[in-house]
Symmetry: C2
């Protein structure tokens, strides 16, 4: 589908950040679908994941691929754009139009590593700034998977009056040591690339593509289940470009299909994503600990919320396993919040929230109502 | 303890490899402990893991650290050097004295990427060559964990007359798609480092340390359990070098203890390991599929074996989970081989085989007899 609006707003006020710093002239790039009603009570905010963007249901301008949640958002779909005004905005720190490390600072040069370190709550401050500009007091629903789920939980905790319903999918209320470790590998891969050049590569011919590709490859493994990888690739060998059937090369070419797939994922990613954005967004995720923000008790984070919640996990997600969702649900119960919780069965691991899982469609449709 | 012998033998015959190539003048560096008896029937071969070496129970000459299985091998220990002649040899392809990519080829220059791609079976051919030189017809026991386990299974399958007892710990009979994927990330990290220079870095000032460190960091995460990481580090912040207590830096320093730990693991590794060896050995492990070598049926691999087997897995090992050990045990049962199998409970993930797990000591002691 085509977007109803392709927009980029500049927030009128400075954005105060958790670091104590502030950002001026913040741009928020967003896509919107459907129409906002007169009461302005039919808005749904979709929050994107680490490497996602605002193109939730429209063609990506760089890759030409269809929207990342096209199966979920559109006319007659679970998030029905015939009934709802659906907004998806690029988070600050990212690279698809919202202010991030590649944006120009006041001196006209890219921020690069002068960009302040941000948090998930800072991203949410940017999103709430957009809602203010759009005149949306209260969302019908805030929905997101993975890092998008962190954002909707953060909205519930920090802006409890801004969303009636909160749907968090395949996510966590805090990054675990293992989560941090995988992100640290990615960051080190980027920073080890001489083309990274302490982040000052925007005017250079070379970009830290090699490091960013390795970071993406490492992360990509965590998005898939072992079972899914085995089903999809097993130990099958790659056919050769010359058309010959798969055989071990006794060399370092991509012999196995899974190697070829990972290399493709890595190199494709570098064409659409900024390495510094990857550093900043992974840092924000690693810093995320909703309980810590609220006196150390997760239930306290939700104490002021009047929203209804739905928490969804996937049985093969080992990045943010069901135990993390259960932890959120316990806190919501302790806070007296109405919450439904479901663990869905799907073979795709963490990426299940993006893929063909009809049960998820039904949960989303049912909860959005 | 001090080694009884620190030796390096040159195999008298060329080593024919699975690739169809051959290696001449192969050196095998090994350590030996205890005394070989007159009947030469008290020899135990310990096989090392990917980044391991022959210094199983003696000080590492580079790091000065004690042997990697000091808790298991020594006088009065489960592998008792008062009774057994214990041998541990560096595998070919590695970098602690056995022939590998850093060794001189016939033209006097390092092989680098001219070194042939080897397999686990090729490593075992090298080990059997050493046993021939030492006059050991038949091992009392072959024991190994992780890649060492692959080697002892390969001995049982390919040289069934050479070992009476085979003890394989925390291992697999084939590398899964996920195993291959993690290794591929490591290889790409090394090969993305400009200092790698297509493997020709031995005479250069710069070594591909940055890439090798990233490879090690990614792999290291797979050696630990999520539970172990959480127990050891959780989300605890790192104290600062200036002595100040842990606080978020809102920067890209190692804020979390787990980040600092991983960086330390990565940089320490580069001081003792060769990047090209890492490429070759991970390739050998990815190629490992014992069934494929034997007509596609794992039971066939063990059809000619007369050995007794013991297979050990750990409940928190997600690199080579218990299901992989069970797969081996089923095949051994189908082949009519005597086998005992135990899943041990330990919080450390794959690395449990190297760590303080008293139950493993008892299993090893009992099986070695």
């Amino acid at each position: 589908m085509s977007p109803a609006a392709l927009s980029n707003v500049t927030l009128p006020a400075d954005l105060s950040l958790d670091s104590g710093q502030a950002l001026s002239g913040v741009s928020i790039a967003y896509e919107a679908y459907g129409a906002l009603n007169a009461a302005k009570d039919n808005a749904i905010l979709v929050c994107h994941a680490l490497t996602g963007d605002q193109f939730v249901a429209s063609e990506h301008p760089v890759t030409g691929k269809s929207g990342w949640w096209e199966r979920m958002v559109g006319p007659g779909k679970p998030v029905d754009t015939d009934r709802f005004f659906v907004i998806c905005a690029n988070v600050i720190g990212s690279c698809m139009g919202s202010t991030g490390p590649a944006s120009e600072a006041s001196d006209g040069r890219p921020y690069a590593m002068r960009f302040p370190v941000i948090t998930i709550r800072d991203m949410v401050r940017g999103l709430v700034g957009l809602l203010d500009v759009l005149g949306i007091e209260r969302l019908h629903t805030a929905v997101g998977g993975s890092m998008g789920g962190m954002q909707v939980l953060s909205i519930a905790a920090n802006f409890p009056e801004r969303a009636n319903r909160v749907l968090a999918i395949a996510t966590t209320a805090r990054h675990s040591a293992q989560n941090i470790a995988f992100h640290e590998v990615g960051r080190q891969a980027i920073m080890a690339d001489p083309a990274w050049h302490n982040g000052d590569y925007y005017a250079a011919g070379a970009q830290p593509d090699a490091g960013l590709a390795v970071a993406r490859m490492a992360a990509h493994i965590t998005y898939l289940s072992e079972e899914g990888l085995t089903r999809k690739f097993g130990r099958r060998l790659q056919d050769r470009p010359d058309g010959s059937a798969g055989a071990k090369s006794f060399g370092f070419d991509a012999d196995f299909q899974v190697e070829s797939y990972l290399r493709y994922q890595g190199s494709g990613f570098t064409r659409r994503f900024d390495a510094n954005s990857y550093l900043y967004i992974t840092r924000a995720m690693d810093y995320f600990d909703l309980a810590e923000e609220h006196g150390g008790t997760l239930a306290e984070a939700f104490a002021g919320s009047k929203a209804r919640f739905c928490i969804v996990s996937f049985d093969t997600d080992w990045l943010y396993p069901t135990s993390e969702s259960r932890h959120i649900v316990h806190a919501l119960n302790a806070a007296g919040a109405p919450v439904s919780f479901v663990e869905l069965s799907a073979p795709y691991g963490h990426d299940s929230f993006l893929l063909d899982v009809p049960a998820l469609d039904r949960v989303v449709k049912g909860f959005v109502g």
